[in-house]
């Protein structure tokens, strides 16, 4: 005879039984056998009559497409070889062209530098100010801002965690 809690025993409490059911999700061994037998007996679900024509229509439409509209793998062999050669030629010409462009750009940059030589003094001042700003940032602002960011992140995560815990506990009680 299976064990059963006596009336008034702690295990007789509905809350304890409910917890037992949660931790032992399969207290009824017959349920699995029942479900297995029932579900295995189910006949196959018939596909809708529209499925076959729909797929065939797609395949026919795909076959009717011009070869250059299909994926590269489905192109005719000659077209594949030609496109490959063309791509290589294009990449080569772009590389060579890049070298020519580089020379012209370098010459143009030289011209520009000469024209703006009188402004070099201003540039020096700007550079010095920039360096000073970097030093101020490193000494003062960086630790303050980074600490603020870290604190903000911790507080944000704390709020999200607390919020989630509160919502979940309330939901369980409802």
């Amino acid at each position: 005879m299976p064990w059963a809690p006596k009336p008034g025993h702690v295990d007789d409490c509905p809350r304890v039984q409910s917890r037992f059911r949660v931790n032992n999700p399969d207290p009824d061994p017959n349920l699995e056998a029942w479900a297995s037998a029932e579900l295995k007996k189910l006949p196959p679900v018939p596909a809708p009559a529209t499925l076959l024509p729909r797929v065939l229509q797609r395949l026919e439409a795909r076959a009717r497409r011009y070869w250059w509209l299909r994926v590269w793998w489905d192109w005719p062999l000659a077209a594949k070889v030609a496109s490959l050669m063309l791509s290589i030629a294009l990449a080569g010409s772009l590389g060579g062209g890049g070298l020519l462009v580089d020379e012209r750009v370098a010459a143009y940059a030289g011209d520009i530098t000469e024209r703006f030589t009188p402004l070099a003094g201003l540039w020096d001042i700007a550079t010095a100010l920039g360096r000073a700003a970097v030093q101020v940032w490193a000494a003062v602002a960086q630790p303050v801002i980074l600490t603020g960011l870290a604190l903000g992140t911790v507080l944000y995560l704390l709020c999200v965690g607390l919020g989630t815990a509160v919502v979940r506990s309330i939901w369980k009680r409802i």
Partner: protein, 185 residues
């Protein structure tokens, strides 16, 4: 016989299996039809190898399952979040509002099958997907947990709840049917 004609015959052999797998996993005939179409379009790309292969059915079933799980995974974070928030009760409106089974279920077989299919479709994703993977695809609990990215205990609990829901639903519908028959006209 052209490739397309051969493929038509191939599709006639397997379309019920592919569609059935998809509709049971997704619980939605429209989505299942879209998935079945994608599966057969993929199959056509590999038709040379599949046409004579004895494992074509297994290949189709695997692709169907993968596509369905991918489709469900798009909404995974949303449904998993809500499912875990309601970890004590995945579907109160569906599972708990129906009567517990007390008598043997003695429905007509065809009616019973119809009801079971209907019930499967109405189960929440979190219960239906592991239940179908376990009972129809014969995957072990560990594999299901791995594929769904859920814990083993959650998968076991969800499958158990799914079975309970099926049983309760059948009982509930039977009582409804008996009530309708007994009602005076």
């Amino acid at each position: 016989m052209t490739d397309l004609e051969k493929f038509e015959g191939f599709m006639k052999n397997y379309q019920d299996m592919v569609y059935g797998t998809a509709v049971r996993l997704l619980g939605n005939p429209t989505d299942a039809q879209d998935i079945a179409q994608s599966v057969f379009l993929k199959a056509f790309e590999s038709f040379q190898a599949l046409a004579e292969s004895p494992t074509a059915g297994g290949w189709l079933k695997k692709v169907t399952t993968n596509l369905c799980l991918n489709q469900l995974n798009r909404y995974r974070y949303r449904w998993r979040f809500f499912s875990e928030m309601r970890a004590d009760d995945n579907s109160p409106e569906f599972v708990d509002n129906v009567a517990a089974p007390e008598q043997e279920l003695d429905l007509d077989e065809a009616e019973r099958h119809q009801l079971l299919e209907k019930c499967l479709q109405r189960l929440p994703h979190a219960q239906r997907v592991p239940l179908v993977l376990y009972h129809f695809e014969d995957l072990p609990y560990e594999e299901i947990a791995k594929r769904l990215g859920a814990s083993l205990s959650k998968v076991k609990t969800d499958i158990h709840r799914g079975r309970q829901s099926l049983k309760r639903f059948l009982q509930h519908r039977r009582e409804d049917a008996l009530g309708t028959e007994a009602r005076p006209r």
